[in-house]
């Protein structure tokens, strides 16, 4: 069995496969303002310790693992809610999940919550990166706790917006495919070419990735042109 991979790598993969390989294959990591603030935000979320309010138990920094997906990670926040406390649109889904087939005795609804600085990021290939990461957490929790996790929540620091994310069949499929791609990519040891598109200016690795050169430019041709120009100017 190969090494389990971090759930965070999944998010990198979904944002840009090259970024994922640069970080997880090549070991490059660049702290920029965005990632540094993200780290601080996460540390705060992890450090606060467990607490209970309004009957909801809030666990921070839980270690998560899935044997099936061969992933490991840490959650920001998982909220455990007594089932009778559920109201609102997903209450029925949660109750159905708790009383449905599978292991019984589910007294709590399990809700993973992920905190993000800034806004949601999307990629042309995989859509919304944050939902995939959240779904991977949900899959880990399901495997570890023997419950169904029908929903997760994303919280965006910049807009102070929360988004409820249904962990539905389509998202589960997408996530499983992304996990398979992640394992294949990192097992290959290769670094895919740069995408060189709108993602690059927002990428913390842009200075190490050099997308403008990694996207198929010829340095040999440049050297020839440059030296010929210099020869002409010298003459």
């Amino acid at each position: 069995m190969p090494e389990p991979l971090p759930i965070s790598a999944l998010q990198h993969l979904v944002f840009c496969e090259r970024q994922c390989a640069l970080i997880h294959t090549e070991g490059l990591w660049a702290e920029n303002r965005l990632t540094a603030e993200g780290t601080v935000l996460h540390e705060n979320a992890h450090e606060a310790g467990p607490e209970t309010h309004g009957g909801v138990r809030v666990a921070r920094g839980l270690d998560m693992r899935s044997e099936a997906l061969n992933l490991v990670g840490k959650s920001d926040v998982v909220e455990f809610t007594p089932l009778e406390a559920f109201h609102g649109p997903i209450a029925e889904t949660v109750r159905a999940a708790a009383s449905g087939p599978g292991p019984p005795l589910v007294g709590w609804g399990v809700l993973p919550v992920e905190y993000k600085r800034g806004r949601s990021k999307t990629s042309p290939e995989w859509g919304d990166c944050d939902r995939v990461q959240l779904c991977a957490q949900a899959l880990c929790l399901e495997e570890m706790l023997g419950v169904e996790v029908p929903e997760g929540r994303l919280f965006y620091g910049q807009t102070r917006r929360r988004t409820d994310v249904p962990i539905d069949g389509a998202l589960r499929d997408l996530t499983r495919r992304a996990v398979a791609r992640l394992h294949a990519l990192l097992a290959s040891g290769e670094t895919p070419p740069a995408v060189n598109d709108a993602r690059c200016p927002n990428c913390s690795l842009v200075k190490l990735c050099l997308p403008q050169v990694a996207a198929g430019r010829s340095a040999a041709a440049w050297i020839d042109r440059r030296l010929n120009t210099l020869d002409r100017e010298a003459a």
Binding site: L210, A214, A219
Partner: protein, 359 residues
């Protein structure tokens, strides 16, 4: 990733570096009103570690273990150098875990064709930049005779450039050695003309390159600046995960930072030589700032070393455009960009390593 590249140079004997929160505290002997040592250390300066790329300590300078740990964690390397700038020891944190890049580097170093291509870039960069230095000086030369000598040397370097571009194209064996020969010939031509680049004090003369020990003030200056460049090139190689020992133009030799020496070739004329020439020609350094030992070795005094380091740091802050990337950066960042480009070439993103061909 460090983008500011400030180096803290500590040149005063007896200085002690301590950790002060997230900053380095520079502590030195306090002086009383009459300028006499009080016998107590005082904090002269506090510099936040995150503002620094490296700390270079010259001569008798100490540092606390706490500071060394904090610096390593902040990605700031601490070097201990002799007063001539020779590296004695260096404290660095963990290098990026880029084992695949290193393997690619070693494979390339074992492969004659890959070695030739990288060595060629180093030679093209160096010889071309030497030629640019000579041509620029020829334009500003005070007399026609001197201008003609400089242009003549530049023409010979052009021949060397063509030789370097051709080397190995006929599939001949030992092309990298041919290249090394071309590089040596170009260096002799360039240094034969170097005296004509000196326009200032007649006390500064240059009779060819000498090192270990440098036999005149100009050579002492050059050796010191090359040592500073090598130091930066080592950091640059390490911070992108390359092994600074395993070079291409420079073959492996125990204790020799072959890759760092490859990386600095193109920077010697561009940054080091030009800094030395400016310092001499603007009379910012004086012959009196150099002393000759019994064995004929020339060293700088502390005040001169400070002047040189200040000029060096200022040179590295100049804004320039990277010729291949077309990006505006500080001159000090160039060697880091060149190391990253080499890493990208080794990982297969770029067909060849583009040298820094200055205009």
């Amino acid at each position: 990733m460090k983008e500011h590249l400030n180096t803290l140079f500590v040149t005063t004997d007896g200085t002690y570096l301590a950790q002060d929160g997230a900053a380095v505290a520079v502590r030195a002997d306090g002086l009383d009103a009459a300028g006499e040592p009080t016998g107590r250390k005082e904090t002269k300066l506090r510099v936040p570690l995150h503002n620094l790329d490296g700390i270079c300590c010259f001569g008798r300078v100490g540092a606390s273990p706490q500071l060394l740990g904090a610096a390593a964690e902040a990605g700031v390397s601490v070097s201990f150098l002799s007063e001539h700038g020779r590296l004695r020891a260096r404290v660095v944190g963990f290098t990026p875990g880029n084992v695949l890049l290193r393997r690619a580097q070693y494979r390339a170093a074992d492969d004659p064709a890959a070695t030739l291509a990288i060595a060629r870039s180093a030679v093209l960069g160096k010889v071309s930049n030497c030629r640019q230095v000579l041509l620029r000086a020829a334009r500003d030369a005070p007399d026609a005779e001197r201008a003609e000598r400089l242009r003549d040397a530049a023409r010979r370097l052009e021949t060397n450039l063509h030789g370097a571009r051709r080397a190995g194209h006929d599939g001949a064996e030992g092309a990298t050695d041919t290249l090394r020969g071309v590089e040596g010939e170009a260096a002799r031509t360039y240094f034969a003309a170097f005296g004509d680049l000196l326009a200032g004090d007649p006390a500064f003369t240059f009779a060819g390159r000498s090192r270990r020990p440098p036999r005149d003030a100009v050579n002492a200056l050059l050796s010191f600046l090359y040592a500073m460049l090598t130091h930066d090139a080592k950091s640059a190689a390490e911070s992108c995960g390359l092994d600074c020992q395993v070079g291409f133009l420079h073959r492996d030799r125990p204790g020799r930072p072959g890759l760092a020496l490859d990386l600095i070739e193109e920077f010697r004329p561009l940054l080091a030589d030009r800094t030395a020439l400016t310092l001499i020609n603007r009379r910012q350094v004086r012959p009196g700032g150099f002393t000759i030992s019994e064995t004929g070795a020339v060293t700088m005094d502390e005040a001169t070393r400070k002047t040189v380091l200040t000029a060096w740091q200022a040179k590295k802050q100049e804004t320039v455009t990277h010729p291949f990337l077309g990006e505006k950066v500080t001159a000090g960042l160039l060697v880091h960009l060149q190391a990253r480009l080499l890493a990208r070439h080794l990982r297969g993103d770029l067909d060849v390593w583009p040298p820094l061909l200055w205009k």
